[in-house]
């Protein structure tokens, strides 16, 4: 464990400045990374974390400042330059070849050769050896695509090891991993740290920051706020540094979970014995007017699968639905929309936004799709809707004609929320609406959900962050192993109770 600054810095970035058209993305930022430490970069979306990483990995040229690696001043003209200097990156979206085998991916470009020909057996043996040092034992001949994202991430890390990296950059590696997978990844990270690798880690999960970091650097609006030892920085201070103000507003929301719901009335939606073979066992679920139903469970417990059936994104092969007391056929998203059900996917980029379209076009897409192509929303109507929701949700930048892909994750999420709210749904299903977005946007979205449900909107809310679920939902449905194992009333329970509940309904799933 490194203790102080006497450890020789591997990377020293001084006065890094990067200018985008109209935006100063980084303003004279200093950053120091030492051998054998896990250093976490924190900041809201748009604070400049990705930009700083991209400067270090040679993706963006810098407009000012110096980068020194292992005492040598460097100018990166491309990612290859950074790799030569010993800097390897594992991105959030795995960029390996899923159609090649695990071994080929690990050793790509570094295959073992005898007499100029690739010795595949030795290559796979080598790959196996690298994987084993990370505690991964899998068949190196299997296709990479057949493994989970978590394993693919570990493969990406061992690939970095093959290239003899001294600096490992992990950009949001945990955003699609479940708890067990995160633990395994952290073991690997700590192991690499102990072997002297300098690790730069970026995450949105506050818990994870403290679990694994030795040091934390906070950025805000492209400027350096400060560098802190993780052990000396309290969670509250960290958040205050990130957003530049104290965050008391979230506490006010906790009343939502205590609101009384009239469960004697006709539910907005009732699912009876709805399931799909091999995906989810038949379950019952009902949601009442003004109620927020949280769904808790580990990743892969069937949370997403369940709501996809409810929305008709996947077809249920058993059970039936009732909407407002009457029988309803929901086999496609269109059916669900016609019953005034809205669904915001956990997969914002793949299943949510239409990247090349503008913010305005994205917002009105839901209404337009309902009306059909013949009845185009007039220009004035469009601007009225768009400005209403952009103001209500505080979408930034407030430019409706910007392509939505250029917005930060939190603002993209707000645009999606706006799209669905504009269709005036009776039930909105939000699957991980706050994942990977900054604290400020997170608070905005939570507040909006609380307000809307108070006005009578029924909400199904899924989140990996149990605090969030307990804060917003009056009732929490707990799932495990692709079925519902119980229901909790959130007003009188804590996060630990939920975890306990998940764990104690059977030990096999926690293995």
């Amino acid at each position: 464990m490194p203790t102080d600054t006497e450890v020789q810095p591997v990377v020293e970035m001084r006065g890094i400045t990067i200018q985008f058209p109209g935006v100063l993305a980084l303003d004279a930022v200093d950053f120091t990374l030492r051998a054998g430490e896990v250093h976490t970069l924190m900041g809201e979306n748009g604070a400049g974390k990705s930009t700083l990483i991209k400067a270090l990995t040679g993706v963006y040229p810098i407009d000012g400042g110096t980068i020194t690696v292992a005492g040598e001043s460097r100018i990166f003209r491309g990612t290859a330059d950074a790799q030569t200097a010993g800097i390897s990156t594992v991105y959030q979206e795995i960029n390996l070849c899923t159609n090649l085998s695990v071994g080929e991916n690990v050793m790509l470009g570094h295959e073992v050769r005898t007499l100029g020909r690739i010795d595949w057996r030795a290559t796979h043996r080598e790959a196996e050896r690298y994987l084993e040092t990370l505690g991964v034992r899998i068949d190196t001949h299997s296709l990479l695509g057949s493994h989970s994202i978590a394993v693919q991430q570990l493969v990406a890390i061992s690939r970095a090891m093959v290239t003899d990296c001294t600096v490992l950059v992990l950009d949001e590696p945990t955003s699609s991993l479940d708890r067990g997978e995160v633990d395994q990844l952290f073991r690997v990270i700590r192991d690499l740290r102990d072997r002297g690798v300098a690790i730069l880690f970026v995450t949105h999960f506050l818990d994870q920051v403290y679990e694994v970091s030795d040091r934390i650097t906070v950025l805000r609006n492209g400027k350096l706020v400060g560098e802190y030892a993780a052990s000396e920085l309290s969670r509250g201070d960290l958040i205050a540094h990130m957003i530049g103000r104290a965050l008391d507003d979230l506490a006010a929301l906790s009343d939502t979970s205590r609101r009384q719901i009239d469960r004697e009335s006709v539910p907005v939606l009732r699912a009876i014995g709805v399931g799909r073979k091999g995906v989810i066992e038949p379950v019952d679920l009902d949601v009442f007017e003004g109620e927020v139903v949280g769904i808790a469970g580990l990743l892969g417990s069937g949370r997403t699968e369940l709501v996809r059936l409810v929305y008709g994104a996947d077809r249920a092969d058993s059970g039936r639905f009732e909407v407002d007391g009457g029988p309803a056929r929901i086999t496609t998203p269109r059916n669900a929309i016609d019953h005034r059900i809205a669904f915001s996917s956990e997969n914002r980029r793949e299943e949510g936004i239409i990247g090349d379209l503008t913010v305005a076009e994205n917002i009105v897409l839901g209404i337009q799709a309902r009306r059909g192509w013949l009845r185009k929303i007039s220009h004035s109507e469009q601007s009225a809707i768009v400005s209403e929701y952009m103001t209500a949700l505080d979408v930034r930048p407030a430019d409706p004609n910007r392509a939505v892909r250029n917005l930060s994750g939190g603002n993209q999420q707000k645009v999606l929320l706006a799209r669905w709210l504009a269709t005036a749904p009776e039930l909105i299903i939000l699957d991980e609406p706050t994942r990977g977005i900054d604290v400020g946007a997170k608070a905005d979205i939570q507040r909006k959900v609380a307000d809307l449900s108070a006005q009578g909107l029924a909400v199904i809310f899924i989140s990996s962050e149990l605090e969030e679920v307990l804060r917003l939902a009056q009732r929490v449905v707990v799932m495990r192993d692709r079925r519902i194992i119980g229901e909790l009333t959130s007003a009188d329970i804590e996060v630990d109770d939920v975890i306990d509940f998940i764990a104690h309904q059977g030990q096999e799933s926690m293995a």
Binding site: P21, V23, I337, G355, L357, L365, P397, N406, S408
Partner: protein, 348 residues
């Protein structure tokens, strides 16, 4: 000035203007138009007339490409519609009757509407990759055309039919009005309704569009059907020009010219955002280039090389990366520091 250069149609238009300029310099008569018997004559008029079939096909191709698809069968569909129309006219007792001609044209276009819908069915309903799905009719279409004509090149004499490609209205070729009408109708349908933006949404992100409630199946299906109809009209114009249904030569390689026109016009082959105006410019660029080749007396055997060379230059000029490369070199030479950067992404 900067805003003009930034406009997405700047480079397509620049390429066309440059091509016209080269032609005018090497042959000052290029732009001149003469009037004879109340009709206009000149290279430009020829280009307007001859570009009509490609214009129709390229419009349909633009929509299909926007949905992430491609339609390789358009050339073969041209052969089919020509074959159907001419066979009907040939078999009728009165080929000069306008009613007969209209029925023949209707039958030809209905046939390609059906074949286009078949393409759409394969792609939108059965989920077959567009390039394979339309390859079926690209290969089989000419066979169907030969079946219709009984294996012969059907030739006819019919003044009303001939008028389609060879006649003039107010001194301008009738075919030009047909292509203007097609552009206007397609633009109206795509941009005055929400069809255009929904098509783009499906092309950019099919799954997100489906979850947003867009009926993507119908939209994709419709795109191929529209492409079929437009190819049908193009086939009528082509056969009217030579007054024969030549199943092997009609619309040969036009799918490639159409794809090229779409790309020159700035629509990405990856689907999504499309530009009808860009496609129109792309069509005129290709047609001008073809007339240049003829005029310069490039031997037919090597003309594809010449065409390819020009196309490469045009495509390179439009490539942002190449332009930036040149800009960097220019900057390095003049040593002026720059503040701009590509990919204005406000990243976190």
């Amino acid at each position: 000035m900067k805003r003009v250069v930034k406009h997405r149609l700047f480079w397509p238009i620049a390429a066309l203007v440059a091509l016209v300029a080269v032609n005018t310099i090497s042959r000052p008569a290029f732009l001149s138009v003469t009037v004879q018997d109340g009709q206009f004559y000149g290279s430009v008029i020829d280009i307007l007339r001859n570009s009509a079939p490609l214009m129709l096909v390229a419009l349909g191709m633009t929509i299909v490409i926007s949905t992430r698809g491609i339609d390789l069968s358009v050339g073969a569909l041209m052969a089919v519609s020509g074959a159907v129309s001419l066979t009907i006219i040939e078999a009728s007792p009165d080929p000069e009757n306008l009613g007969v001609v209209l029925v023949a044209i209707g039958a030809g276009v209905l046939t390609t509407l059906f074949l286009g819908a078949w393409n759409g069915f394969l792609v939108a309903v059965l989920g077959i990759q567009p390039i394979i799905a339309t390859l079926v009719l690209m290969l089989a279409g000419r066979g169907i055309a030969l079946l219709v004509t009984g294996g012969f090149i059907t030739t006819i004499n019919s003044t009303p039919y001939q008028f389609m490609a060879q006649g003039s209205v107010f001194g301008l070729p009738f075919a030009f009005y047909v292509s203007i009408a097609a552009v206007a109708i397609v633009a109206l349908v795509e941009r005055r309704t929400a069809l255009g933006v929904l098509t783009e949404a499906v092309g950019i992100n099919p799954e997100a569009s489906r979850l947003a409630g867009v009926r993507s199946r119908g939209i994709v299906w419709g795109a191929y059907a529209a492409s079929g109809v437009l190819a049908g009209f193009a086939g009528i114009l082509y056969s009217s020009n030579i007054m024969a249904a030549d199943a092997n030569a009609a619309g040969l390689y036009i799918e490639l010219d159409a794809i090229l026109a779409v790309v020159l016009g700035g629509t990405s082959l990856a689907g999504g955002k499309f530009s009808l105006a860009g496609t129109v410019i792309g069509v005129f660029t290709i047609q001008t280039l073809k007339s240049t080749i003829t005029f310069l007396g490039v031997p037919p055997a090597v003309s594809p090389v010449f065409m390819a060379a020009v196309v490469i230059v045009v495509v390179l000029v439009q490539s942002r990366r190449v332009r930036e490369g040149f800009a960097r070199i220019g900057k390095a030479l003049s040593r002026t520091p720059s503040q701009t950067r590509p990919d204005a992404e406000v990243a976190s």
